[in-house]
Symmetry: C2
Subunit: 369 residues, 2 copies
């Protein structure tokens, strides 16, 4: 499965795998794809260094990349305390009432309260970059908006390609203007932050809008048929995130989340602002229902919402409070029905792709296999 982009990056298959887990990233690259490690959870540069060392030691010389979160809007000079102060008391009460309703225990004194806003701030992302550029990463992806011009320049000096996610052709064109090299077209059905345009429509629209830049299709892809479909739509590769969450190499926060993912159907996700303040697809839970309920206070804008719910989500995860327990994931979750190794998942993708090509050739009346 070779496109211009996969050849440029020296990978066997044009399958890009985004994952927060070093073991999954390394396994994807070893299998012949391109593993991309998500960096947002590394607030301490040393933690990122430790995990990149691990990837280096286990990737077998194959190429890999890093995904950072640099919000388009700068929040430099604003402290976490400043942002905390902007959260209305009614919203804090709603969090506590909802947790109390489900009997969610409190954290012990001094226990970490999970996600901090600092991970989303430019200075932290820049700290991650200082670490990452010491490693032979081949791709730097940004999950929110275009990266700053100096970051793009720094990446290009090091022969690192820069990718950015876009949920509309308009955003994709902005990325192109910012000098990025690859656009990830993130369809409505994708996990995490998404727009409203489905992959079937979005992919070719973005391909046309940023031509000749290569586009990776993201959203709804979990089988070789779907890989073939995305490539037929003009993508130069696919960008998969959800599919790896139930891999044996994934280090999910709780076994209960894995069980929920394995049991969920394609209709069991929701595009909700409950997690970050921007619409992000995730498992639908009584927690997302509470935030999406018109009778409730509703969600706050990014980054307030993420800060507001950070401790609550840590408690829900730690104590595995099933009705409230969720995770970002796409509609493809309906296909994630067993725990398998990354290699097994990857083999399914490439085998299914070949079968889909056979089928399309038969339909087209070409002499296929």
């Amino acid at each position: 499965m070779q496109t211009e982009l996969s050849k440029k990056l020296g990978v066997e298959h044009a399958i890009f795998g985004f994952t927060p887990f070093p073991a999954v990233a390394a396994a994807i690259s070893r299998a012949g794809g391109f593993g991309v490690l998500g960096a947002v959870r590394y607030t301490a540069p040393d933690d990122l260094k430790r995990d990149l060392d691990w990837v280096e030691a286990h990737v077998g010389g194959a190429p890999y990349g890093l995904d950072v979160v640099m919000p388009a809007k700068k929040v430099e000079g604003v402290s976490e305390a400043d942002v905390e102060a902007m959260i209305p008391e009614t919203h804090r009460q709603f969090v506590q009432e909802t947790l109390a309703k489900y009997g969610v225990p409190e954290l012990a004194d001094g226990e970490a309260s999970g996600w901090r806003i600092t991970g989303w701030m430019e200075q932290v992302a820049r700290g991650q970059l200082d670490v990452a550029f010491d490693y032979p990463i081949r791709l730097l992806a940004n999950a929110l908006g275009s990266p700053p011009a100096d970051v793009v320049a720094r990446a290009h000096e090091r022969n690192v390609l820069v990718a950015a996610l876009a949920g509309s052709a308009r955003h994709a064109v902005k990325h192109k203007e910012a000098g990025i090299d690859i656009v990830v077209a993130q369809g409505y059905e994708a996990g995490g932050h998404t727009g409203e345009i489905a992959s079937m429509v979005l992919t070719p629209e973005v391909v046309d809008a940023v031509d000749p830049l290569p586009v990776l299709a993201a959203g709804g892809i979990g089988s070789g048929q779907q890989v073939a479909a995305a490539l037929a739509l003009g993508a130069q590769g696919v960008w998969l995130g959800s599919l790896w969450l139930t891999c044996t190499e994934a280090d999910m926060s709780s076994p209960a989340v894995t069980r929920k993912l394995l049991a969920a159907g394609s209709g069991d996700t929701v595009r909700s602002r409950a997690l970050t303040g921007k619409p992000a697809r995730q498992l639908r839970t009584e927690w997302t229902d509470a935030w999406d309920d018109p009778a409730g206070p509703g969600t706050l804008p990014m980054p307030l919402q993420g800060l507001l719910v950070a401790e609550a989500l840590t408690r829900i995860q730690k104590y595995e409070v099933a009705p409230l327990l969720g995770t970002p994931v796409g509609q493809i979750v309906g296909r994630m029905t067993s725990e398998r190794s990354v290699q097994a998942v990857f083999d399914d993708l490439t085998r299914g792709f070949e079968q889909a090509v056979d089928r399309i050739n038969r339909i087209a009346g070409r002499s296929g296999k």
Copy 2:
């Protein structure tokens, strides 16, 4: 572009075109596809008879089909007046206030007020069938739920295949159990009534769920690339509705609607209950915004909403009140940028399909053209 289903129906290309316009249906079948005439607007059997006569005279012997609306829930024995009486006065007032706000003129005395609920009632659909079965239709599609068992039996006696639309694998399985022959998997991005699962995920899910029944992919398809993608996903053909609305043969209610369709981007539709009471994708307008506004009274359930807004929509269309003027259409509207003949659109689809197959073969390393 040949699948088992297209061979069975004797058409050159596995492209099914749904349209309310006899001239479009005939042109699709003449071009080598399979035209399906939507019957919902024919409340008088003679009108349907007149248009089927026209199709027969212009289809050049090619096969074609009919699409009826038979709601899953029977409303037999309930008159339109009974249903009218269930509409709250607050909702009637909201309609009048909204029309007044935009200065929408009233209809003249005795002028038809557009859509009537009767078109959705089983006895009317049965009247349409009595007419249709006198014609050599090859396919009977039902847009809402599975058709009644006796209708399926009657179709099968006449060698007419029965199709039904489904927005989820669960609904598709119900159709299979009801004895239908073809499932149309209607993705989130499609125009008209849709579920929340995007085509990329829905198509293969429905294919697997109803195997060995053939599945047509609907939603987001307006180019040969998208046809190739849908077939790669396991569909035996594609079902296109939106794309024909801007064809020169289409008899749209107002030129202003056509202008709006040509100008709209993929992000200019909304899945709203404003039209019928069930979520249906359509152009986003100040009319849909008013109904979707949490500060308003909200929509009524089907069939009340359709009845409530029927006269208003007729007035908005007749007087071409631009901010309120909409029509059901899918996200593919962003690709509908010029008025062209059905044949020209069809040629683009088949040529684009061949190019997409070439491309996928190059990526797969097969000796393509």
